[in-house]
Amino acid sequence: MDGYTYSELGSILAMQGFAGFSLFSVLLLMALGLAIIFGQMGVINMAHGEFMAVGAYTTYMLSTLTETYAPSLMPYYFFVAIVAAFLIAGLLGYIAEFVLIRHLYKRPLDTLLATWGLSLIMQQSFRSIFGAREVSPALPDWLLGSYQPTDTIDIPLNGMFVLGLTTVVTLGVYYLMFRSRWGLRVRATTQNRVMSGAVGINTTKVDRYTFALGCGIAGIAGAAFTTIASTGPTTGTLYIVDTFMVVVFGGAASLLGTILSAFTIAQAQSILEFFISGSMAKVYTLLALVLILMFKPEGLFASKIRR
C-alpha cells in the first residue's frame, strides 16, 4: 500500500465499518415487519415491499405539502412523515388483512399468490396516482451531507439517521412483543391458536393487529429509505428478495435471529464488496446462505412453534 498514511487507511477502515453497519440497519429495518408477519403468523407477504413504498410515497406527499404550504417547517416534517408512514401503511395492512388475508389462514401457500396479486394491484395504483417516474422527497438539510470527526473521515448523515431509527424501532418491537400484554397474546396465539382462543384471547383481533403492525413497520422502513434511494411504483420489488433472505436465514419467529441474520449478511456483503466486485460479492453471499440453509434449514434460530 504505497502512498497511503496509516491515518488514511484507518479512516477508510472506519468508514468501511460504518458502511457495513449502515447496510445492517437497512436490512434489519426492511426485515422487521416481515419477520413479525411471517414469523408470528406464517403469512408469506409478497406485498411487503409495496407497503414500504406506501411509506415512501407518504413521505414524498408530506414533503411536497410542507414545501408548498409551510416551507419554514421543512426541517421537522420528516418526523411527522415517519409517523404518518407508519399509520397509513398500518391502516392499509389492517384493511388488507380484513379483506384478503384472513380468508387464507388455513391455506398458507395461497397467501403467497394472494399477496403477490395485491402487490401488483398496489404497484399499478402507485403508477396511476403518482406517475411512472421515480420521485424523491426534498430532504431537510440536516439529513444531507456527512459528519466529519477528522479531516479524512466522512460518515453519511442519512446512514446515521437510519441506524438510529432502526435501533428505536427494534427496541419498540422488542418491548411490544416481549414486555407488553399485547405481545404476550401474539406469542400465545403463535404457539397454540386453539388454546389461546380457549383462554379468552381474541385471536382474530390479534392477527389483524399483528398484520397491521408488520405493515406499519414496513411503512417506516419505506420512509427511511427515501433518504437513501428514490421511490417508484416498482421500488418494492427491489427489496423483497433481500427481506425474505434475512428473515429465512434468521429463522422465522425469532427476533434475535432476524437481527443476527441481518448483521451477518450485511457484513459479509459489505466486506466482500470491498475486496471483489459488487455482483460477485452478492453471488458469494447468496452461495454461502444456500450452503448454510442446506445444513440448517430452519435458519439460525429455530422457532419453537407447536405445529
Binding site: 497511503y4 477508510i12 468508514m15 468501511q16 460504518f18 458502511a19 457495513g20 449502515s22 447496510l23 437497512v26 399499478q124 403508477r127 406517475g131 411512472a132 417516474r133 421515480e134 420521485v135 424523491s136 426534498a138 444531507l144 451531507g145 456527512s146 466529519q148 466522512d154 453519511p156 448523515l157 442519512n158 446512514g159 429509505f225 433518504t227 437513501i228 434511494a229 428514490s230 417508484g232 411504483p233 416498482t234 421500488t235 420489488t237 427491489l238 456483503q269 459489505s270 466486506i271 464488496e273 470491498f274 466486485s277 459488487g278 455482483s279 460479492a281 452478492k282
Partner: protein
C-alpha cells in the same frame, strides 16, 4: 378489389328503397366510385406491399413500456414521438396523408416487445414503428422486424455493434458518446486515472470495454478500478470507500435506474462532491435528474448529444411545444429528443422515396443525404449505416436539474463497429 365488390353490393341493396330517385342515386354513386378509384390508384402507387395506408391516412405504431420498471424512462420518448406526429399532421401529413397511431405497451418485458411488434406488423400492417428503449427490448424485437420486413426507429443511445436493414438508430452509438467524453476529460481536466462503475448488464459492460481500450491505448491513462453493481442495488457504501482508496482523477459512471439515484445520493452524503472529485457519466439525462435531485449532482458532468438547456431556435420551439402538449413540469432528456427525430426522419425518407414501402424508404434513407435542419439538438444527418451524424456535448449539472453545456464536439460520423475496440 374489395372496394369494387363493396360498392356493387351496396348499390344493389339500396336500389329498391330509392324508388324513382334510384337513377339519380346510381349516377352519383358511379361518380363517387370513379373518384375513389382514381385516388385508390395513387394509394397503390405509394404502397405496393399492403401496408395500412389509405387515401388520406397512414398508420404507424408506437411501442414503448407504459407499465413496469422501464415506464419511467420510456414515457418521455413516446410523448416526444406523439408530439412529432401531431406536428407533422398539422403541417399536412406525409404525402397528403394524416398519420394515425396505434400504441402498444411493451410492459418492460422483452418477449412482450417481440409479440407486440409482431402484432403491429402482421395484423395492423403499420408503415413504421417508433419504439423500444433498452437494448434488451430491441434485441428481442429485432428478429420480428427483420422477418416481417418492418421499419423501427430506435431512439436510445446504445452500445453499438449492430446495424440492421430494418432499424434506423436515432440515438448515438458508443463511439459518439464515450470516446469524445473521455478525450474531453483527459484534455480539460488532465485526467490520468479512471474509476469505471456501471450497472451489471450489456450496455454498461460494452461501454466500459470501449472506455478501457480508449483510456489505455489512446489516452495513455490507467483504469484503477472497474465495478459493476446488480440492477436495482441501492447500497454503494463499500464501492465509495474503494473509490476513496484509489483516488481516481475521474469517476466514469454508467449506473442506471433506481440504483442511479442511490449512487448519487450516497456519493453526496459521503462527502464526494464536485469541488473535490471530477465525475463524468453516460447515464444521466434530465429525466434521471428528476429522480436524483439536482442538488446531488451539482457540478458533475454528463456526456450526451442533447440537453434541454441548449440555446438555439429549434430547441426553444421544441421545448415550448413539448411543454404545451405534456405540461409545464415536463423535462426533456437526451433520448426524448432522439425519439422526436424519428417521425421527422421517416417523413423525410418517405417523401424522398415517394412511397411508404419499407424497402424504398430504407433505400432512400441509405443514400446518406437525409438531414434535419430543424432538429432540437441542432443539425443531424442520416448516415448510410442507419445511424445519425451527431454532436457530442458535455453538460455540467446545476442545482435546478438543468445542465450548462460546457463543450461541443464537431459533427461525429457514426461508427457502430469501431475497429480496435471490440
Amino acid at each position: 378489389m374489395t372496394l369494387t365488390h363493396k360498392f356493387t353490393s351496396r348499390t344493389h341493396a339500396s336500389a329498391p328503397k330509392r324508388g324513382f330517385l334510384s337513377t339519380l342515386g346510381m349516377g352519383a354513386l358511379i361518380m363517387a366510385s370513379a373518384t375513389l378509384f382514381s385516388s385508390a390508384a395513387i394509394a397503390d402507387d405509394v404502397n405496393t406491399t399492403g401496408l395500412a395506408v389509405t387515401d388520406d391516412t397512414v398508420t404507424v405504431g408506437i411501442l414503448h413500456s407504459l407499465t413496469g420498471t422501464m415506464a419511467i424512462s420510456e414515457t418521455g420518448a413516446q410523448e416526444a414521438e406523439k408530439l412529432a406526429i401531431a406536428q407533422i399532421n398539422e403541417s399536412g401529413g406525409i404525402l397528403g396523408r394524416q398519420i394515425k397511431i396505434i400504441q402498444e405497451d411493451g410492459a418492460s418485458d422483452w418477449p412482450t416487445f417481440a409479440e407486440k411488434a409482431r402484432k403491429l406488423l402482421v395484423s395492423d400492417k403499420v408503415a413504421a414503428v417508433f419504439g423500444c428503449w433498452t437494448s434488451a427490448s430491441r434485441k428481442a424485437a429485432l428478429p420480428v422486424f427483420e422477418k416481417e420486413n418492418g421499419l423501427l426507429y430506435y431512439p436510445t443511445f446504445y452500445e453499438g455493434l449492430e446495424q440492421s436493414k430494418n432499424v434506423i438508430y436515432t440515438g448515438q452509438e458508443a463511439t459518439q458518446q464515450i470516446i469524445d467524453g473521455l478525450n474531453w476529460v483527459a484534455k480539460e481536466k488532465g485526467a490520468k486515472t479512471f474509476y469505471l462503475i456501471g450497472s451489471d448488464y450489456i450496455w454498461p459492460r460494452t461501454s466500459m470495454k470501449i472506455a478501457r481500450k480508449h483510456i489505455e491505448d489512446v489516452l495513455g491513462g490507467t483504469v484503477v478500478g472497474e465495478e459493476y453493481k446488480p440492477l436495482g442495488d441501492t447500497q454503494f457504501g463499500s464501492v465509495i470507500n474503494k473509490i476513496r482508496l484509489k483516488k481516481p482523477d475521474v469517476i466514469y459512471a454508467a449506473v442506471v435506474g433506481g440504483s442511479n439515484v442511490a449512487w448519487f445520493k450516497q456519493l453526496k452524503s459521503a462527502g464526494i462532491t464536485a469541488d473535490k472529485q471530477t465525475l463524468l457519466t453516460i447515464s444521466v439525462t434530465e429525466d434521471e435528474v428528476l429522480g436524483i435531485g439536482g442538488e446531488n449532482l451539482e457540478g458533475f458532468y454528463s456526456i450526451m448529444k442533447y440537453f434541454q438547456s441548449q440555446d438555439n431556435e429549434n430547441n426553444k420551439a421544441f421545448v415550448a411545444a413539448f411543454k404545451e402538449m405534456w405540461g409545464d413540469d415536463s423535462v426533456i432528456g437526451d433520448v426524448t429528443q432522439a425519439a422526436y427525430l424519428g417521425p421527422w426522419l421517416w417523413k423525410a425518407a418517405v417523401e424522398k422515396a415517394g412511397s411508404f414501402d419499407v424497402d424504398k424508404v430504407v433505400a432512400a434513407s441509405e443514400e446518406g443525404d437525409i438531414e434535419l435542419t430543424t432538429a432540437p439538438e441542432g443539425y443531424v444527418k442520416l448516415h448510410p449505416n442507419h445511424h445519425l451524424w451527431s454532436v457530442a456535448r458535455v453538460g455540467q449539472w446545476n442545482k435546478d436539474g438543468q445542465a450548462t453545456v460546457v463543450y461541443e464536439s464537431e459533427l461525429i460520423e457514426p461508427d457502430p463497429f469501431p475497429e480496435g475496440y471490440q
